[in-house]
């Protein structure tokens, strides 16, 4: 477009300096009116640029960074905001003792426990249970463990949970027939029955008691593995803090706090235990809020042709999954595959005449799953997939066990488990047969053990409710630490990359995470472990959501030179006439002012 404010002159001015005869006329001077108009036009264009263009540029190209509570996030990541403690309540039921004696026994046992305990974050607190009438009118002798159906077990477990929120109940009984104290933990309840000899009855005056020491040792044994795992988890996070101490983004003020956290767990775990725990931890699955379980039936022939898996699942596995639902959710799928042959690399089963079984070599176990031909899709549902394979061998090669250990089931870390179901009678392998619910039952029980070990539940506790409780606490601890470290990573990322945008969703996710972390910490301190786990799960989900926000990374790799390529093609040609005319105008104004002064 034309430059505004023009002036016209003669067609050829080139002769001005050459020939005096043809001296061209200089154009008459401009009127002041036209000079003023020209100046106004230039000003009007520049006014649009400065008063409208500049704000538009600033407003539209500024990167929106929401405010994040960086210091709080770093505090959480360094472990300064919360010292997780795990106070467990142990209730002591002693209906046959006097109140004063019972209290005295409790105090002595507590002293003994405190002496034994080296890890102060995880401690046991004893209290006397309110005197409840014992259910079903038991006598003083130890009741025999009953082989209850799993459904009934969890019914009674829930009742216990509702009645008192202790982790464990110790029931004391005097028994005449024994010399020293004995204890027994029922496999389906959280009750530890302790029987003591009559001469061990504590009296109020004695300062020490063999019974108290015995109870303290037993309790410490029961929770030792859990303490070790929690100490290991906390130690892992402290080690992580230590590695970030040397990075430039963490202030030196965090050094003393983390040193303190670091020293305590190291005293507790000796190296072999640490190594064992480390290998156990890597074998167990990474936490996910939902897991998908695939139950598969593989058979090398065409029989059994179906299985009553749905009713078997509903009766044997679903109650377990429901009770673990506080930790993670599970979805289950099933499939059947016929004519599932081994891969060529696996040796055919050999007949072991000594035991009358067919054996598989141990080296072949890893190749047992013929991944090439067996349809085990790695990811169907939401979350990681666990595959549980039930293999019914051919009648000619049954019973099939692993050589050496004679085991018929094994775990494959991070993948699932395999159970070889050797048919008890010929009917299961006849053509067109159906695998009955009762036949599947032992396999499902094995699977549930495998599932619990996948989730990281300690194996030494014989009681299932105790395992679940331990799992709850361990998960709460690990989720708390994982969410806190995500917060720390996000804070460091925000500081390190000033060019990325922080949308509001990240800010809300961070606020939600921090508030749920606080709830978790408080719930842990008060001993409300299921509530702590719930809050920890929400905190972890929110932290992941905030950290992996997709819109944050749009501008990261945008070098500044590219900005030139973006702005110049349009603004260059538009800007050149504006700048040239402004310069000309300024020169003229300067010249006229100088002329005025002289």
């Amino acid at each position: 477009m034309m430059a505004p404010g023009t002036e016209f002159g003669e067609g050829d001015r080139d002769y001005r300096l050459t020939s005096p005869a043809k001296s061209s006329k200089k154009p008459p001077p401009e009127t002041s009116e036209s000079i003023r108009v020209r100046g106004l036009v230039i000003v009007s264009f520049w006014a649009v640029v400065i008063f409208l263009g500049l704000p538009v540029w600033l407003w539209t190209t500024s990167i929106h960074r929401a405010r994040l509570p960086l210091q709080e996030m770093l505090d959480w990541a360094d472990g300064k905001a919360c010292k997780p403690t795990f106070p467990l309540q142990i209730a002591i039921e002693a209906p046959f003792l006097q109140d004063a004696e019972a209290r005295h026994l409790m105090r002595m046992t507590q002293h003994a426990l405190d002496d034994l305990n080296e890890f102060s974050a995880h401690h046991l607190r004893l209290r006397l249970a309110k005197s409840l009438s014992s259910p079903s009118g038991r006598n003083a002798s130890i009741p025999e463990s009953q082989d209850l159906e799993i459904g009934q077990v969890f019914q009674s477990y829930e009742d216990l949970d509702v009645r008192d929120d202790s982790a464990l109940t110790v029931r004391l009984r005097a028994q005449d027939s024994i010399q020293a104290a004995r204890s027994e933990l029922q496999s389906h309840s959280t009750i530890l029955d302790v029987a003591y000899a009559p001469n061990q009855t504590p009296s109020v005056s004695s300062s020490s008691s063999a019974l108290a020491t015995f109870i303290a040792n037993r309790l410490q044994e029961l929770f030792a593995e859990e303490q070790a795992i929690i100490a290991y988890i906390l130690g892992q996070s402290a080690a992580g803090i230590q590695s970030t101490l040397h990075s430039p983004y963490v202030s030196p003020a965090t050094a003393p706090g983390s040193r303190e956290v670091r020293s305590r767990p190291n005293r507790l775990i000796n190296p072999e235990m640490a190594a064992r725990l480390a290998s156990r931890m890597t074998r167990s699955l990474k936490y996910a809020p939902t897991y998908h379980i695939t139950m598969s039936l593989f058979t090398p022939s065409a029989s059994p042709s179906s299985w009553q898996i749905e009713s078997a699942l509903a009766e044997y596995l679903t109650p377990l999954l429901d009770s673990i639902s506080a930790v993670s959710n599970f979805t289950v799928d099933t499939q059947v595959q016929f004519h599932a042959t081994f891969s060529p690399s696996v040796h055919a089963p050999e007949h072991d005449a000594d035991h009358g079984v067919w054996t598989l070599q141990e080296e072949d176990l890893s190749g047992f799953i013929n991944a090439a031909e067996w349809p085990l899709s790695p990811s169907i549902g939401a979350g990681p997939t666990l595959n549980f394979v039930l293999y019914v061998p051919d009648q000619t090669t049954s019973p099939l066990v692993v050589k050496g250990t004679q085991a018929s089931s094994w775990l494959i870390p991070h993948w699932g488990g395999v159970v070889i179901l050797n048919p008890q009678d010929a009917s299961t392998t006849s053509v067109g047969s159906t695998l009955s619910k009762e036949a599947i039952r032992p396999a499902l029980l094995t699977f549930s053990h495998q599932l619990l070990s996948f989730l990281g539940a300690p194996q030494t506790l014989p009681s299932l409710p105790l395992q679940l409780q331990t799992l709850t606490r361990i998960r709460a601890a690990s989720l708390l630490l994982s969410a806190s470290s995500t917060m720390g990573s996000l804070a460091r990322l925000t500081v390190a990359l000033p060019s990325i945008a922080i949308p509001e969703t990240v800010s809300t996710a961070v606020d939600a995470t921090l508030s749920h972390l606080r709830y978790t910490c408080n719930a842990l301190k008060e001993g409300k472990f299921t509530e702590a786990l719930e809050n920890a799960r929400i905190a972890e989900a929110e932290a992941e959501r905030g950290f992996f926000e997709k819109s944050m990374v749009g501008q990261v790799y945008f070098p500044d030179e590219h900005k030139v390529a973006v702005y110049l093609p349009l603004l260059g040609p538009v800007g050149v006439p504006l700048i040239m005319s402004a310069l000309k105008e300024l020169k003229r104004m300067w010249a006229s002012r100088k002329a005025q002064r002289t």
Binding site: M1, M2, P4, G5, T6, E7, F8, G9, E10, G11, P27, P28, T31, V37, L40, V41, S44, F45, A47, V48, V49, L52, G53, V56, W57, T60, T61, G554, Q555, F558, V566, L570, L571, V574
Partner: protein
């Protein structure tokens, strides 16, 4: 009782006959032209109006589908047409609109504003065309006929703009501002015509009434009237769409934020397809500022001929608008013959006309090659669009040069007929 000029009646009759012939003797022609990208843009397409009308008459919000981006008043207007006679009656409606536009144009020509405004009288003002001839140039322009057959909504905007100008030169500023309010309600860009229109109204009123009130009070009064008109139209639309304000985001924010990048004759779509997301809003702002930046400069420099400011701005809009089409070009070509006295002063007439002709003929061919034959790509079509914009810019720049030279020759009458150069 209105005396109808015989020549005017002849003109109108023949134009109507031509259009009726094209509408009814070639039944597939209207749909063909409605589908052409040079005539229908996402904000003016007749097909989208039909879609919105269907939704509106069936009690669904017409803006739900994200297809309809036009003002609600049009919906209520078209809803009055019975659907059984929809096609013939809309044809008659558009023919009537064309005649109304021509009427306004003839009024503007007869006022002789182009030759001599209040502050300036051109030395060449006798060189002019008859007002009927100017009307004929508009009615028989192939662009105008194609626009009429293709039935885009921009015809309503053009009609409103022309009436605003006609009322301004007749000394009725109130109606003029009302008409401009309607125009900017239907599309957004006529807002930028407000300053020159106020200048035009002021000049005309000062000339007729021989009094010169201070221009600032005049400007403030009519600016507030303009905004009151807009508010009134928005309020009516709110009532028409059942009390919701969502039509604002569907109609005006489409022009501002350009979510629909259907290819058209303009320069915006190609650029905004490839711009980075983080710079998109910045460049939208820059493009709109570019369009609006010319208003101030032109108003200051050519203050003495407000009608020419409006004409040039219409030309600039036809090039740099977000969704331009042939109707904007036909509007500019309607106003340009008013300045017949400038044509001898223009330097590149042949070049510009040849460029326009070239682009008109090759444009549909390249579009066909790109979209239907698949042997070309978007660059073909965009290149022809650039050539077309180049041709139009040449005409705008040349006419600007001509009017400046015309003004200069009043001061230097000895330069008449001589070759001059800008320095």
């Amino acid at each position: 009782m209105m005396v109808i000029d015989r020549r005017k009646a002849l003109l109108f009759g023949s134009a109507t006959a031509l259009r009726l012939l094209l509408f009814f003797a070639f039944p597939s022609l209207p749909d063909l032209l409605t589908g052409r990208v040079e005539i229908s843009t996402p904000v003016t397409s007749f097909k989208r109006l039909q879609e919105g009308l269907f939704l509106y008459t069936h009690n669904v919000s017409p803006y739900d589908g994200g297809v309809f981006h036009q003002a609600p008043l049009l919906l209520s207007l078209f809803a009055l047409i019975p659907s059984s006679l929809f096609s013939p009656l809309t044809s008659l409606l558009y023919i009537a609109l064309d005649l109304l536009c021509t009427n306004a144009l003839i009024q503007i020509a007869e006022s002789r504003e182009a030759g001599s405004s209040r502050l300036f009288t051109s030395p060449r003002k006798e060189l002019k065309w008859d007002s009927i001839a100017i009307g004929a140039a508009y009615l028989f322009n192939p662009f105008t006929i194609a626009t009429c057959i293709g039935r885009p909504i921009s015809v309503f905007t053009n009609c409103a703009i022309l009436h605003a100008i006609a009322k301004a030169v007749s000394g009725k500023p109130m109606s003029s501002i009302l008409a401009l309010g309607l125009a900017s309600y239907l599309s957004l860009y006529p807002i930028l015509l407000l300053p020159p229109l106020i200048l035009l109204c002021y000049d005309r009123q000062a000339r007729d009434k021989k009094e010169t009130p201070p221009i600032s009070t005049f400007a403030i009064k009519y600016t507030s009237l303009f905004f009151a008109t807009k508010v009134w139209f928005l309020y009516i639309s709110n009532i028409l769409t059942g009390g919701s304000w969502e039509f604002i985001s569907s109609t005006y924010s489409v022009q501002l934020l350009l979510p629909d990048l259907t290819p058209n004759m303009g320069l915006w779509w190609y650029f905004f397809i490839e711009i980075f997301d983080s710079f998109r809003e910045f460049f939208l702002g820059i493009f709109w500022l570019h369009l609006g930046g010319y208003v101030g400069g032109l108003c200051i420099r050519i203050r003495r001929q407000p009608l020419f400011i409006i004409t040039t701005l219409l030309g600039i809009f036809a090039i740099f608008k977000p969704y331009p089409s042939l109707s904007d070009t036909s509007l500019y070509f309607a106003m340009l013959p008013l300045y017949r006295h400038l044509f001898p002063l223009m330097r590149y007439t042949f070049f510009a006309l040849a460029t326009i002709l070239y682009a008109t003929l090759l444009g549909p061919a390249f579009y066909y090659l790109w979209i239907y034959a698949g042997s070309g790509n978007a660059n073909f079509f965009y290149a022809i669009t650039l050539v077309w914009s180049l041709g139009l810019s040449e005409i705008v720049a040349d006419s600007l040069f001509a009017v400046l030279r015309d003004e200069w020759e009043v001061e230097r009458p000895e330069m008449k007929g001589k070759d001059v150069r800008q320095i």
